[in-house]
Symmetry: D2
Subunit: 435 residues, 4 copies
């Protein structure tokens, strides 16, 4: 027996160019082989519980618009109804993974212990539902930014009691993630940053955040959690400045606290845009630095200065993201999460389904284009050719030498560089053969 | 005998509230004691040779506007005329330092060797001028972005010949800096980045840049240069993306290549703005990470998305910058350089003088306000009070403990955080008592 | 008998350089004469009921933080408590004006009629409070963006029922504004715009918005409302694009619908920043186009891409705003409203007072500096001198002539323009003598 | 006999899915019918003489990179060589139109008269070349921003002599445009704006610019020029603020000076982005306001804050632009100009060809997708359905009524709006069926 929320929408199936409903897949074909691997295993799609089921449609200028039967989310029976609907959606969409924060799935209790009991009951409820389905947990995480106790940060809070509360919270979320067989554990520090430097001791806060993340890693090893620990960069919002600004900043932070081999990154397209980067930049940066983990494939509106968390809809952009992921070897524990929310005017159950299936088709197209670019080899060949001078033993030797010896050759006129075309437009044309 | 370029503008002197010319100082009083140190020794002002004397007033949509007598800058006699005028300006302004790139001061030769001969002749000419004046070199640097050979980068160029040419160039600039007693050597990687990832091997380029910077440090030690090596962060322009994006990114880079104790940062207000930060953020970040070095005190227009390099004119902003510099202990080898250019409509010699003396007065006001905030202590007291919970031994012990032990206390209800006001507006009011 | 909310904070008084509490005024001295007018009459300060009393401290990533005794705002007795506290704050601050939206002051009813009864009761309650105090209504306005019925716009809604509901709502707010002697009526179209062009008929929506605004003006004349009708530009947020983007866009809209002589603009610093302008740009634009009305003096954080609505804290910026207001003749019906909200971590009643009194002091300093710049005359003289060529009768005659006659003179070599310095830095130095 | 510059690159031909060179068209098929019109007649491609032939590859941080045989551009023989190469490129690409500024095509003379003689000689040279080819002039324009005489504006210059020089210049360019059968005349006011309000009388400058544009229209009628007069919006750069900020701002300006029926807009994707808009927003706005004219289809990098003028490479974005153009009835006198420049590292002649042919293929794909969306009708049907309530006579009557009569119905409870889904994601899915 179903909740009836999706009232008659049938499970989405791959139809390719054939006839199908609005919700069927034209491109996402889980079993199709791409570069020797099933498409599903490449993309590893996940639905975000938070945006799709807990968010009520409010924004800074207006209240809830969605009015779901499980709103307001203040008791366990509505929390279970929400779970019922969520898994019904997973059955329709057929994606292999989902993700949650603790606060999405259970009502807040009057005490920590009560919140925990609520949480554990729902986690067990999830466990039952997962046992009868082909659905896994990509990652769990703790929401340590919504409740007012976290208004000044979690691990970076000036109040040590909040640090303690945060530590206890993450422990319970890591426990639940492990219990459900989650493949990663994510930390996003929404308020790990500042509103004004006037009331902030940045050095102290960074040290506390570094110690906290070390505790996470210590706890992971203690409980034998096999998944990856992921940090999610974002430059700002809700904080004016967040310490996990972007991939390069996170890498510096991980090194400072000795964690660059223990922690990887969960990168989001929208966060990349807000930080002034392209998504492929963040992926390529994390890959170059050895900390690429997983992605949130939700875009930001280019004309909005806040986090719009929209479903992806631009194939060429998505293709470049997967091109860099494939070049980095593809996902291991990571996957493609949609940390995306419906527009607040998209009130219907059909909007919830179509937004996900449309996004999955976009990603499937992007993946196939990326694979085709790799198999074509034109881009990679051009790249190798451009740097081929460095394959010369003399060039390698130069890197091991010093300024004086290099100077002698240059001053003697032995070296006179001749600029060569960077061919950007021609390379862009190659990309456009495939997207 | 003077060039007559500044035709009758007398040396600027401190007049305070008294009568004075448009060019005299109302606030900059070199010998005035501020927190136990002469104002001049706090601020350590430097003039940038490049913008003030070499730039001709062009922009992407138009050509030269300035038409100085030493333009075009293609022979040594005009290079010497330029130097004559520059030192005449230093005599008028009375700042203690200046800075140069090699390409600002000498004409490009047909060969490296010829360029070097031109350069060395001018450096000697500078040396003579400095010997009779109270003017020192804050830093030297190499321009490795203007000539077309560097269009695809210097140390990160796909062509090893360009790496070689860059190494030889930096050697000569470090030699010249040392010869003139320079107190720092700066590297700004204007084209150390990329235009498109399609033709870029980011990992390889970062490794080359890391090796290059190690060569710089090795050479510094070899020649016994006592000054600091400084890297200058900037997010973009001319490159679409520059590897030295901001302070936090540079810190990660320095750690990766083992340089975090050898290299510090030269921070620029305009670059901070382009990277999405406030200037005080970059200063506080560098200070927290132990890599604060020097500053370029030139602002960016908040409504323009490119590098406008304007002289500072907002006292409250400047005061916050110096507040964080004073909190970090003030400058050691660093100083306040104006990497600022006149607006291209500011054609007159008087504009060149007034822009500098006005900026120095702004900075003097900022410094005095910053010192007053520190001496008042209200901001620092509020900060200490906010974090006072962490002075509790139990809080410190918690940092050394683990998730399980913290969890037990939280779950037992022993810890229930109570939010306290962040008092941002009240702290801003304190600042406004002093600026 | 008071509510006790402000627990002992005494009315703020002007103390100048003398001793005073944190809340007293150092610069705002209502009776001080500035350019022949009382400072209070220049500045015409207003408090915004919405941000200061109705906003609960939530943001897109977190819930309420403030927990005022009148929250949640769902019944009339709490609405009256809120009003009691508000007027107690007005008594402490001593500003001459306040502003409201209907939805700030009354609980939403189950029907329009019920909401209206709630509203009218509170308006009467306000009227009583105003009768015993020196406090006036600067403007009233309707909140037509928070309730879900307005999620797709008010007058631009695709559903004519929403247009109707909006018309009825504005009528009641105009009635209430008139009843309380309000000096202006403001329309801010928070959702008069679009999320996506895919579901938007822009031409139709503009026509509906134009007709709606004409109805407002017709109703104003019908009821004999003597105040000004003001439209408030904002580029985006909550909508991705708002039709009232900025001052220039609004002016085009007003002309298209024949309203340029009936409607003026309420300009906000934060909205100017979001639109890519400086605040003084928007003021100067409105003044040049003859539609300057009133201001919201709340700043936007330069590093945040959303509407931060912070209290002003930068005197030089505020001074330039008032400089252009004074040049335009100063306020007539308009004033200086603080459409500003506390940071959500600023939990205390003292924060509410200090934020306002600090802002008023900033504005007072800005006004005095602006007046001094005008009285000095240096800026205006330089401006007149720069355009003095146009005072030549030949120049004026040229404007009345045609291309052929001008061409003849130019081609004959009679006219050869010689660039003159724009003197920007020297003018900025003049400003810095006064701020 | 050819110049040999394009050394063996054969004319690009349409090959579709067949074999072809890197330069052949896969999508642009001039004679293919799209919605009943030849593709060539829909797209009306034009090459910009300026970027492709006159620009030398400099940027604010570096000098020329291209080193074409016709650089430096200081005599007539090199100007003719440049023209020879340009028309050879037109022969290869096969686009139907091109565009120029006066300053692109001729060397600057010592006097106006000399510049004019140079210009007229080249225009005649162009005329000869055009007479033997299928190439037409889409538009001509005057460069009134590069030479230092225009550093403070053209028609808005504080110096009336510059206004005169500008008037004479535009006259000669309109004459030349007419002589060559140009279909439009464009004005882009690169320095018609300001650097600082401190030295700017905005009202006066707007009046001068309004008068100047009226003179343009008067001259058009006098000489019987049948083409359209187009103004090109841009928010900033080179000026800090340009008066022709965006489409809506230009419309307000045109109305103020009585020109809204005489002048239309030339919209550029990159300028839209810099103004905070999408390109389709600017097109839809101009269409809604009745002033849509022509486009410059060159994109801006989303992460760069200056005008990057890149060739288009994102089909979904291009498709949405053409969708709105087709909805507005398609081009009349306008067309698709590439005001795009090679990246400065793209040194080769092959880059110049491939950038244009790749861009034309992108546009052809966009056009075909746009036509398919229109022929499908799904988007338009959804739009009509969304606004269908307004087709009700009662709704239309309401627009003619007044607040009182509407209020009576709403207050009586006859109207209670029920929100309906905006369906954004489902509409985006429809778009993605076609792009």
């Amino acid at each position: 027996m179903t909740t009836g929320f999706f009232n008659g929408i049938a499970p989405a199936k791959y139809v390719g160019d054939g006839e199908g409903t609005e919700f069927d897949y034209r491109h996402y074909n889980p079993d199709e082989m791409v570069m020797g691997k099933r498409m599903e295993d490449h993309l590893r799609f996940a639905v975000a519980y938070w945006h799709s089921f807990a968010w009520e449609g409010g924004d800074p200028f207006g209240g809830a618009t969605f009015e779901r039967p499980w709103h307001p989310q203040d008791n366990q029976s509505r929390a279970k109804l929400k779970a019922d609907v969520a898994f019904e959606m997973f059955d329709i969409i057929g994606q292999p993974y989902y993700c949650w924060h603790d606060a999405d799935v259970r009502p807040e209790g009057d005490t920590f212990a009560q919140s925990l009991r609520n949480f554990e009951e729902i986690i067990d409820y999830f466990g039952e539902k997962m046992s009868s389905r082909n659905i896994k947990l990509l990652w769990g995480t703790a929401n340590m930014f919504s409740h007012r106790r976290w208004m000044s940060g979690a691990s970076t809070n000036p109040d040590p009691d909040v640090f303690a509360y945060s530590a206890a919270t993450v422990k319970t979320c890591m426990d639940a993630t492990q219990k459900l067989g989650g493949e990663n554990y994510v930390l996003w520090g929404g308020r790990e940053g500042y509103e004004t430097l006037l009331n902030t001791d940045m050095g102290r806060e960074l040290d506390h955040m570094g110690r906290f993340l070390n505790m996470v890693v210590e706890y992971k090893h203690k409980i034998g959690f096999k998944g990856a620990i992921l940090v999610e960069p974002k430059p700002q919002e809700p904080s004016k400045h967040q310490y996990d600004y972007d991939a390069a900043t996170c890498y510096g932070f991980l090194q400072k606290y000795g964690l660059e081999n223990e922690v990887k990154l969960n990168l989001e397209q929208g966060h990349a845009i807000l930080a002034g980067h392209s998504f492929e930049h963040e992926i390529a940066t994390a890959a170059a630095l050895g900390v690429f983990g997983s992605i949130d494939m939700n875009r930001n509106d280019y004309q909005s200065g806040w986090d719009t968390d929209q479903f992806p809809n631009n194939v060429p952009e998505v293709a470049l993201a997967y091109y860099h992921i494939l070049k980095a070897g593809g996902f291991t524990t990571g996957g493609t999460n949609f940390d995306a929310k419906l527009r607040r005017q998209s009130l219907d159950a059909a909007d919830l389904i179509a937004s996900h299936t449309g996004a999955m088709d976009i990603c499937a197209r992007g993946l196939k284009a990326a694979a085709a670019m790799i198999e074509d080899g034109g881009l990679e060949n051009a790249l190798q050719e451009r740097y081929s001078g460095w394959d010369d033993p003399a060039a390698k030797a130069m890197l091991e030498s010093d300024f004086d010896s290099i100077f002698d050759k240059v001053n003697a006129g032995e070296i006179a560089p001749a600029p060569r075309s960077g061919k950007q437009e021609r390379l862009e044309n190659i990309v456009n053969r495939f997207v």
